[in-house]
Symmetry: C2
Subunit: 250 residues, 2 copies
């Protein structure tokens, strides 16, 4: 945990913050924060700064908070992600939050196992917990929006434009494609949407529907990657190619 995230309900009328539970425990047992020391803190959705420890007892951490800096820049990227197996999703969601993705739509696809919808990993509270881990890691305060959609085609046909906007560059990493990411113009796009298929890939109907809705296919090369590897690889490459909105370059 590289940042202690503060929620609105932590703030007292006098402007100090009082934390209990997991975060207070972490500050006591891992950070061993003594009164007078300062911790790096951030307010969910807001600024980052420091918290001076006023009190750190068995169940309460009280901080004098000074929030002065913006969190890291956004990546300018959204993901349309075929629902990965639960074990992979538990790795992908913290990574996605730590890399500054704005929106994730977890969508059904032909090669998504139906049982994944019953996984506890998709429960909103579980999703939020995984995202918060990613923010605490990367010292960010802004939660990605996560949406779950059980029907692929209605989402693509009816919701895509509203959710991702029309001016984002839509990209489809897809093995049959020949042109690499460097030819897609990603470095000049105001925003980017990446459509990442399930293990085994999108079926032809899905790839064609995505292409018909403006997703440009490109190749990641001959290596087939697991989704939990492909997501950071792609986000790292997109960030590197984008000058102004890159979140991976200072």
């Amino acid at each position: 945990m590289n940042l202690l995230l503060l929620f609105d309900e932590d703030f007292l009328p006098d402007g100090t913050a009082r934390l209990t539970g997991r975060r207070a425990q972490h500050a006591r047992e891992v950070l061993r924060a003594e009164p007078g020391e300062t911790l790096r803190v951030g307010r969910l959705g807001g600024l980052v700064g420091t918290g001076e420890v006023l009190e750190n007892t068995a169940d309460t951490l009280r901080l004098r908070v000074s929030l002065t800096e913006p969190p890291p820049e956004r990546a300018g990227v959204d993901l349309l992600l075929a629902i990965p197996r639960p074990k992979a999703l538990k790795k992908v969601l913290p990574a996605v939050a730590s890399l500054g993705v704005d929106r994730v739509v977890l969508v059904n696809a032909a090669r998504v196992e139906k049982s994944y919808f019953d996984s506890k990993v998709l429960a909103p509270a579980f999703v939020q917990e995984l995202l918060l881990q990613g923010l605490e890691q990367a010292r960010d305060t802004r939660l990605p929006e996560v949406h779950v959609r059980e029907r692929f085609r209605p989402f693509i046909e009816d919701e895509l434009d509203t959710l991702f906007g029309r001016d984002a560059l839509r990209l489809l990493p897809h093995p049959p494609a020949r042109q690499p990411l460097t030819t897609t113009g990603v470095e000049r796009a105001p925003r980017v949407v990446l459509a990442i298929g399930p293990d085994g890939g999108w079926v032809p109907f899905e790839a064609e529907l995505l292409a018909a809705h403006g997703f440009h296919p490109f190749t990641l090369g001959p290596r087939i990657l697991r989704v939990e590897t492909a997501v950071p690889v792609l986000l790292g490459q997109v960030a590197l190619l984008r000058d102004n909105t890159s979140s991976l370059r200072t």
Copy 2:
């Protein structure tokens, strides 16, 4: 599993291959391979091609093997990796194999917990199993070499040049650095070695010793990433910047 890996001992004198155990079970239960069908196969350390199923019974899969193609190009990258916590190592090793890394030195560092050395994940058989998973995923046949070193300084001072060679570009992703990866000349280097620190980073002594041994610091930006996210992000970026040896571009 996108490739069935064959070992020398699978081959019979008549040139066919006979598999038992996990791989035979996978071919029967997941791939449901019937006699006459062909599977994608590769010989460990060698070529890839097809295997025509001759027999697929309760405990034996017999294949007529035709190995004709080289595996994907290597990434041209080695890693010097501070030993991550065992849970992270279980994610990193398959990813590293699937991304075509040649060598991984898992090295002790000041912020590596001593208990990690007792983890079963570091046992050679466990390491090999994780690497094989990565190869099967990426359709590669070449295992990365993995070395474990319990002493940081002697490794850097006495073994570094021998193991990684003198002509590889040595890179140190390190938060205090200012210049991005694009300024390091990585795209022209014959090979690359990335020195990736533990959670919390290299301590100053370690970073200085690495710099004194030719590692160029660069910044990944303000976001602090977990090692299991940083490794694919960095390997993806290095691959993108390297024209000729890139394993991520066709």
